[in-house]
Symmetry: C2
Subunit: 79 residues, 2 copies
């Protein structure tokens, strides 16, 4: 079973990467861009077939390794 983890910076945490993208888009002539935030997406292929257990396992992975929960939020989506 496949799982996708979305990791984004918490609001209030500075995002210099997103700010750089916003500036570059402005330089290229794109207008009306109010904000840009950049995050990570991690796609996992698991041998686990039970959705509940897979989600619990992926959440444990986020807490232990994938996300820095001090400054980042994460969301898990199973497919």
């Amino acid at each position: 079973m496949k799982a996708r983890v979305f990791i984004t910076l918490k609001s209030g945490v500075l995002d210099p990467q997103g700010e750089a993208v916003r500036h570059s888009l402005g330089t290229l002539g794109f207008q009306g861009i109010e904000a840009v935030r950049q995050g990570k997406v991690i796609e996992l292929t698991l041998s686990e077939t039970d959705p509940a257990r897979a989600e619990a396992e992926v959440r444990a992975m986020c807490e232990k390794l994938l996300a820095n929960t001090v400054i980042e939020n994460y969301a898990v989506e199973l497919a």
Copy 2:
């Protein structure tokens, strides 16, 4: 209006970052992980309110700056 862009490596393109995550998860005791791919998610806040025009604009941003279409796929989601 908000848009999310998902940028992932095309299949067949080596993903050393994903491979490192897979290895680290194994070291931490997580089992049954068959594959890990890491990508980017970019959240844009646009002043454009028309969904069709917003999507066209975001796709142009992907082609010009956000994604390297030689090795990366992108998907646009409006919210």
